[in-house]
Symmetry: C2
Subunit: 96 residues, 2 copies
């Protein structure tokens, strides 16, 4: 199954910065980064549930958010990418 | 039709910061912000195409990226949100 995962992490303090690193690392272990905070995970259901459980354990539900989009089987027809591909320095500081 | 829009904008210079503001504003005009750089647009096809055209005119295809996920009619079953809702101060500086 293909799942799109996007996250916002409140990085105003050191604990938030730690959560951001941990969530990004967990996603990188199981999914492909397509943008800074957007990953695509093509996993069997059991593996996805384990990953999701770990993400929920890391996040602070009062401050952070996670979104999962279950793209189904025909997901390739649902996605359009325009512009630059994700760079290598995704963990560096970016100011939005 | 429901379309998920996510973007990365290279904000290392003033022009990038301008593009980010313009893209965010264009998205806010037609879509609901669900995370910092993630919007959901429930639009008729013609309106979506006009919006997409404006976004493409703003972005720098060498530096920025836009992704569109066409979620189809049963999109409500495809989305799961966990944690904090988007705050009001989405245009303020956030350090990732």
């Amino acid at each position: 199954m293909m799942v799109l995962i996007s996250y916002d992490v409140a990085t105003g303090d050191k604990d938030g910065q730690r959560r951001l690193r941990c969530i990004a690392k967990e996603c990188q272990n199981h999914a492909q980064r397509v943008q800074n905070s957007v990953f695509e995970a093509n996993l069997d259901y059991g593996t996805f549930l384990k990953m999701k459980s770990r993400l929920l354990a890391i996040m602070d539900k009062e401050k952070d958010s996670l979104r999962f989009y279950y793209l189904g089987n025909n997901w390739k027809h649902r996605v359009e990418h325009i512009g630059a591909k994700p760079g290598m320095d995704m963990e560096g500081p970016l100011i939005f």
